[in-house]
Symmetry: C2
Subunit: 348 residues, 2 copies
């Protein structure tokens, strides 16, 4: 049903949209999509398998049908069964190579409760993690204190990289001219692995905090780790960066303020060889900052989680130009990551 | 931007839809729409007026533009201003007669945190108020212990009635044949007031728990209370009902289980004069329970809040037929409330 802009039911649909989040989070938490992967299943049987209430399970399944994640099929003898749609088989089943399960779980466990304090984020212009959980920085805190949650966070970023950032890293620009490459804040190394496998002449180093580097082995098995992929522990806000001719920053800049982002890009520029470049993978606003709607919502979520926000290409270009970058080019993808390539001028 | 069903960005948009809820809740909480009602205002000025962070305020305003609640206008001299769209002036400004502000605040304060426990609702098939807030029944508890929250709840239901239920009550069926009318669980009496004003020959009684009846004066001023509108304290699950020829149940049945709803409809049938009727105002699923999508989300929200769910017309018809009702007819509105009228056969 489509609502006109003056229909107040649209307001209710918007206000109730938290239920869309929790339908997905709840279904993933219960591993509902795993249980529907190989065959259709009756609602009552699924409720029994998952120790759930039969009526509530049917409500959830029908809601997931309305969102496009589940199909309702006639299994003969007036029996109705439910099964995954292709999008669920690919992205929601936990064992799928493209599974977004870890990201969805983090959104439910962390981002959803933090967003309850959104209005404080607007008043204070800063992250609401401390107000929500009683400690100041979610990421720093779980790295130090909660191994299980830390692995969940790494898994979440790894999943996003695999599904969204890798294709953009490979398809947006021809990077074959670059030899010494460093991915800053590269986490468990998914984007770097994709680049290393595609560009055999590229030597790529993943540069990130020790806990991320130590977790990488769990996500990229030794057997699939090519020789041109290395890992290096370091803090991009404190340590000097490896000298190279291409830096990759995949969903990093948006977690920093203007001043912090400028500092990082300054260090990047200084450590680049002349003629080198920086590749930024990040979800960009349209140039006039009207849409995409998803980017606006993603940005509000960032605001409550880290006190920062998404940028348009003109805004990012301005930050890069101030450090001396030239030939700054954007490729829009319509997906989570857009790509921006900026060059450090060669010596004359 | 439209996503194809196989585009994984659609999943992220769905998962992040909690930010849509909080954009509206946050903006209402800050009374942002009130401050933009009479003239356009610059983002920085609005931030100053509301003691908010200027950058965060601009993010919120642009997000509200993307959702259709705010317009961005060129105020000359390269100055950009923001102002309400018509839908916001009508439904989001607190002083508007049609304001949904109280309902949106309750959704943020109560429904959003309860929904964080949605997967437990699926497993247990019951309300998650106790798990969320530490006490069992939100409504019962606040009525007894928290006058301010109780008034917020009444205001929220009053606002929904005014905007959604009243037009449906007046437009769906000709009720001019009914003389003695009772609205069960009628709260602060908005629907009953509309009926009393429209049908001068109707005597209508609002029947609800004492706190709701006592609060009614605050919502309907004595000066606008017609003589044919009365209030009566009572509990529809315990007390005998007034004898009459039309009962109205506006957004009541969906808060009860099958057994409880059957009990209420049985009492209603018994207390109706022969030839009398019951009018049920409630958001109905499509007959095949595929959509509307809003109804699915509303139902998931009910599931976590009260452990109950929305129904289709065939489901509601079945409940009514079991008690002896005949000539059961539904009018679909495409809005929050649909209308169902069912008759108790006349004596032969």
């Amino acid at each position: 049903m489509a609502y006109s802009v003056n229909d107040p039911v649209q307001i209710l649909a918007h206000v109730h949209s938290y239920a869309i989040t929790q339908a997905l989070v709840g279904a993933c938490h219960l591993r509902l999509f795993d249980h529907m992967e190989n065959a259709g299943i009756a609602s009552k049987q699924l409720a029994e398998n998952l120790y759930a209430d039969p009526e509530a399970m049917e409500e959830l399944l029908n809601a997931l049908v309305s969102l496009g994640y589940v199909e309702k099929i006639n299994a003969g003898n007036r029996t109705v069964q439910y099964r995954n749609t292709p999008i669920s088989s690919t992205y929601l089943v936990t064992t799928s190579a493209q599974s977004l399960y870890p990201y969805i779980m983090i959104q439910g466990q962390v981002a959803y409760p933090v967003q309850a304090n959104f209005r404080h984020a607007v008043q204070e212009g800063k992250a609401q993690v401390e107000r929500t959980f009683g400690h100041a920085r979610y990421f720093t805190n779980i790295l130090a204190n909660d191994q299980k949650k830390a692995m969940g966070f790494f898994a979440s970023m790894h999943a996003l990289s695999r599904v969204f950032h890798c294709p953009v890293a490979l398809e947006s620009f021809d990077l074959s001219a670059y030899r010494e490459v460093c991915e800053l804040g590269g986490g468990t190394g998914m984007v770097a692995l994709a680049l290393a496998q595609t560009y055999s002449t590229m030597n790529i180093t993943v540069f990130d905090l020790p806990p991320a580097i130590e977790a990488a082995d769990k996500f990229i098995p030794l057997s699939s780790k090519p020789e041109n992929l290395r890992f290096q522990k370091g803090d991009l806000m404190r340590d000097s960066l490896p000298y190279c001719d291409l830096y990759v920053l995949s969903h990093i800049i948006h977690t920093y303020s203007e001043d912090q982002a400028s500092y990082i890009l300054k260090q990047v520029y200084a450590s680049l060889s002349p003629g080198g470049a920086v590749l930024i993978l990040e979800n960009l606003y349209n140039d006039d900052k009207r849409g995409p709607q998803f980017t606006h919502m993603f940005s509000l979520s960032m605001l409550a989680f880290s006190g920062t926000r998404q940028r348009s290409f003109p805004e990012l270009k301005y930050l890069l130009e101030r450090q001396g970058f030239k030939n700054i080019e954007a490729k829009r993808t319509g997906s989570l990551s857009d790509a921006v390539l900026a060059l450090k001028p060669a010596l004359h």
